[in-house]
């Protein structure tokens, strides 16, 4: 009896009664379970990973591997191929001029070679900023530079080699004429470009002179990604009353287009569950059965249409 009393007294004094440690362990496990459960699918996260939203200028060329750039940049169609060639031409024309110019630098007329060097650098700095905008600037830049330099050389050289100068003057005049026509062309281009920029001005972008491409583009082709193009095209055909919108239903559609940009067939991989939205998508897809441009090849697209994203865009 005494021993049992003592035992009970000790039990009362002890921090851990027999069995309490087990319960403590259970409690620890239970507390560990809470964060584990939190990260399981039992508690779905409400944050929806939003796909990148592009506003694609539907005039831009469709490519398979777009380069980095702005999808809605001003469209510069076939010119890119033509312009690179004009560039090399102006340069040879400019170079002969520098050779006669050497006299200008009064001190040593014998140094024709060192001078050509200083002149080439000038045309170069201008082309450099322009390479970003492949088409419009290349042409205009090389020419304005030579013109500025020519007027200066004239007064200095007039005494020394008049005949050579006259020949050069003729050349220069020809060049000026060429430049004028070039200028006219450039103005036209600029106007076109301004119109394109105005068209896309409702889209905020930090850089207006970025090349045509996709923001996450990794390829080397100037143009917009085919998927983004098709998605934007369908979006343009899509109409939906925002008063019918509830939640953010999502539908996944598989579309097959041939190389001519004709829809061969489409399939809903996942319906959104909102029949009004699904029907609006079907209407938009049937309206987009012919794209405005051919595709690089016949392609298959998986596109997820999210009502909320689409309403935000439209």
């Amino acid at each position: 009896m005494e021993s049992s009393r003592k035992q009970r007294w000790q039990q009362l004094q002890s921090v851990f009664e027999p069995g309490f440690k087990q319960m403590l362990l259970i409690s620890v496990l239970l507390h560990l379970l809470v964060p584990i459960l939190y990260y399981t699918p039992l508690f779905p996260k409400h944050e929806i990973e939003k796909p990148p939203v592009y506003r694609v200028n539907l005039v831009n060329k469709i490519v398979k591997n777009p380069q980095a750039g702005r999808p809605e940049a001003a469209p510069v169609k076939q010119k890119p191929a033509v312009k690179p060639k004009p560039k090399p031409e102006p340069k040879p024309a400019v170079k002969p001029k520098p050779v006669p110019i050497p006299p200008k630098p009064k001190p040593v007329p014998v140094k024709p070679k060192p001078e050509p060097k200083p002149i080439p650098p000038k045309p170069k700095p201008e082309p450099k900023p322009e390479p970003v905008k492949p088409k419009p600037e290349p042409k205009s830049a090389p020419k304005p530079a030579p013109v500025k330099k020519k007027p200066q050389p004239k007064p200095a050289v007039s005494k020394a080699q008049e005949s050579a100068l006259e020949a050069r003057l003729k050349k220069m005049r020809a060049a000026q004429k060429q430049k004028a026509s070039e200028q006219a062309r450039k103005d036209k281009l600029a106007a076109l470009r301004a119109a394109a920029i105005a068209e896309s001005s409702n889209i905020e972008s930090p850089t207006t002179d970025a090349p045509v491409g996709m923001m996450d583009g990794k390829g080397d082709q100037a143009g917009v990604s085919a998927v983004a193009f098709v998605q934007e095209f369908i979006q343009k055909q899509w109409s939906f009353s925002k008063y019918q919108a509830a939640g953010s239903p999502e539908a996944e559609v598989k579309l097959f287009y041939n190389a001519h940009g004709t829809l061969l067939h489409y399939k809903f991989l996942k319906k959104s569950g909102n029949s009004v939205f699904d029907e609006s998508l079907i209407r938009a897809i049937t309206k987009s059965r012919q794209l405005s441009q051919p595709l690089p090849e016949s392609m298959e697209f998986h596109i997820i249409f999210n009502l909320k994203d689409m309403l935000d865009k439209s």
Partner: protein, 225 residues
């Protein structure tokens, strides 16, 4: 959610650790008390049935080992032990002294029962004070963490000079998690405390009733003698 905790400042983290400790221990106590008090109530019920069926103290005393976790069985053991001691004393004493002849068995058994009741009550109520402490202080500790966190975040606003929602919101949400965890620790503790206190009070009532019955039986036996 986890980032909120990891991004919190050192004081808020300390507060969260303290709250985690409170929560861990109070849940352990809740589990422990659920098992012990349930067992005590069940065994006491069974013991009372057994006691009234047997009617004889010696028979009950033989079968008492089954009811180790019942506080009423402990009362019986203490009372019966006291009775046996008295009997032993009176039969052993060759030369009856004035002291032993004046002994009132009912009184002595009654004292033994009261002592046992006190001890059992203490045993049943053990750890419950921790639940009460958690219930009353955890929200305040959490609130302290929140106030501290908000203080810091406002200080940050002052130094950056920007009061946009993007600057204010993360600091406040980090701070508020302390109150949330404080409440999460306190609510089960308060509920558990009230529940167990009620059960312990029921058991104390049962023990008192049993003590009275036991004393009645002892007195009847004494008068019968």
């Amino acid at each position: 959610m986890l980032d909120l905790v990891l991004n919190a400042g050192p004081v808020v983290k300390l507060v969260l650790l303290i709250l985690l400790y409170f929560s861990l221990v109070s849940w352990a106590i809740i589990f422990y008390k659920v098992s012990t008090i349930q067992r005590a109530i069940k065994q006491s019920d069974r013991f009372l049935d057994f006691f009234w069926k047997k009617k004889r103290f010696d028979l009950v005393g033989q079968g008492i080992k089954e009811f180790n976790h019942s506080p009423i069985a402990t009362l019986f053991r203490e009372g019966y032990h006291e009775m046996l001691q008295l009997k032993k004393k009176s039969s052993d004493s060759i030369e009856p002294s004035d002291f032993s002849s004046k002994m009132d068995p009912t009184e002595m058994v009654g004292r033994a029962l009261r002592r046992a009741t006190t001890q059992e009550t203490q045993r049943l109520e053990k750890y419950l004070t921790f639940l009460a402490t958690t219930g009353s202080t955890a929200p305040f500790i959490g609130l302290f963490g929140t106030v501290w966190g908000i203080m810091n975040s406002f200080h940050g606003i002052g130094t950056t000079g920007s009061a946009s929602l993007a600057v204010v919101a993360p600091g406040i949400s980090e701070a508020l998690i302390a109150t949330a965890i404080g409440l999460a620790a306190a609510i089960p503790a308060v509920m558990g405390y009230n529940h167990f206190l009620n059960k312990v009070n029921i058991l104390i009532g049962e023990m008192d009733n049993f003590s009275q019955e036991f004393l009645n039986i002892v007195e009847r036996m004494e008068r019968g003698n």
